[in-house]
Amino acid sequence: MTVWARAQRFSGFALPLLLLILWQALASAGVVQPMVLPSPLAVAERWWTALMPAQPYDSAQGSYLAWVFSGELPHDAAASLWRVLLGFLAGAIPALPLGLVMGASRAAYTLFNPLIQILRPIPPIAFIPLAILWFGLGNPPAVFLIALGAFFPILMNTIAGVRSVDAIYLRAAQNLGASQGTIFLRVMLPAAMPYILAGMRIGIGTAFIVVIVSEMIAVNNGLGYRILEAREFMWSDKIIAGMVTIGLLGLGIDVGMNRLNTHLLRWHRSAEK
């Protein structure tokens, strides 16, 4: 590898690094007030403090592993991820079979489509007041809102996926003696999988947005709650530390989904490297 090629490979990291340096310089020079824009070092320090356990290790209190994750940040991150998981499952589990049926049957499509087209454009955020009225405070309204956010992309993509299945696979399966049920599960479902996974990826992205918003309103832990709490105290370094965590978790989820995608679609042409 030439020096130039090597330099190019890291060129994507140069821009964020440059911005960080500029930001630190601005903060050090005292051009902006720390409350408006704290220095990156202050943010990093705050992030580290939140990440680390608050108490010194005491073997009487429990296992070492539990101690390592006893900090505020790991707790909040786990709470947010748990809500994303619950909400995502609550959205995906009805979306998948409904999408398969709507994609395969014209009658089912005609029956459900108008209702879905009316509900789909309403952002989950607009359901917040109703969600609180219906489910009170705490996890249930948050899970409901996240489920709404995940439901529609998965549904729409599953419908499109089933419709895109090449009729020749259905013919081949019929010719080999497959029943309707077998064709559904072993031909249509896997053939539609690239679309379904793409829908899940969008769905989990939406779920991640909605979890932060719903934590700002309905619950008292999680990353969204922590950011809003920090604002009350004007701890802008803590706000930014929270935002950075959200960014990192989002990136982690996306990388994970991408890995899953590549594995499940290893048969697929576009999965070729």
Binding site: I168, L176, G177, P190, W267
Partner: protein
């Protein structure tokens, strides 16, 4: 002995009323057990339509198709189909594709493995067993498609221009392979092609079809001894003879295309 496949007064129209296209008109054809029949003609002559009717993918407008005296109403594993586009399931490995028809019949895993193993050997696919179709050449894919159909042990093999997308060398290899399988397994084969040479090389009988509406123009018995030599005089004499017939139909196809009525 009764015919294996019997086509009686078969017609097929596509579309409605004034726009209707008569794809097939009054076809009568009997194919005996173990016979290798080729349907030959230019595109638009309805040869694939006839094959799809035998397969049961579409239903006739008039007349009927029967197999062993029973009327065909739906697709079924007694008439295995090999498609030009292979139609392998891309999410399944070679092994899984070949075993699919057996697994949906509820056969035990061990029995499926044995049968799939035999077929992999028969079609020289052993080293490709764990691959996905996307990692195979066209020729290999078509071998898998043939193995998938043979797994069901269907007495009838329907082939819709199966080697049409392959290069000349691969094509010849697969033709020879098919003849070997046919003589070993004694299947009844209905093979659609637009290549005159391929038809004469393979078939006991070449059925030449007319351009729209599809009718039978010539039912030609091929008496040449196998293996056949495409360079031999008698092979070429027959080729010239059939060529005249097919070219005349091809002309009609081009003519209707010029008039703007051809859809195919």
């Amino acid at each position: 002995m009764t015919a294996h496949i019997s086509v009686q007064n078969l017609s097929k129209r596509f579309g409605e009323n004034a726009d209707a296209v008569a794809a097939l008109q009054n076809i009568n054809l009997e194919i005996a057990h173990g016979e290798f029949a080729c349907l030959l003609g230019p595109s638009g002559c309805g040869k694939s339509t006839l094959l799809n009717l035998i397969a049961g993918f579409i239903t006739p407008s008039a007349g009927s198709v029967s197999v062993d005296g029973r009327q065909v109403t739906a697709p079924g594993p007694d008439r295995g189909m090999v498609f030009q586009e292979y139609a392998l399931f891309p999410w399944m490995t070679v092994e899984q594709n070949i075993g699919f028809g057996l697994s949906i019949r509820g056969l035990a895993r061990a029995d499926i493995a044995v049968r799939v193993g035999q077929l992999l050997q028969l079609l020289k696919l052993e080293e490709f067993r764990a691959r996905f179709p996307k990692d195979l050449s066209g020729g290999m894919r078509q071998r898998v498609a043939i193995a998938r159909v043979l797994a069901l042990d269907s007495p009838i093999l329907l082939m819709d221009e199966p080697f049409g997308a392959l290069d000349a060398l691969t094509r010849r290899t697969l033709q020879d392979e098919l003849l070997r399988l046919w003589s070993e397994l004694r299947k009844t084969v209905v093979f659609v092609t637009h290549s005159i040479e391929e038809a004469i090389y393979l078939a006991d009988r070449v059925v030449v079809m007319t351009y729209r509406p599809g009718t039978i123009k010539r039912d030609q018995h091929v008496a040449l001894a196998r293996p056949r030599d495409p360079a031999a005089n008698d092979f070429n004499a027959l080729k010239r003879e059939l060529s005249t017939l097919v070219t005349a139909e091809q002309e009609r196809h081009l003519e209707s295309e010029r008039r703007g009525v051809a859809v195919d």
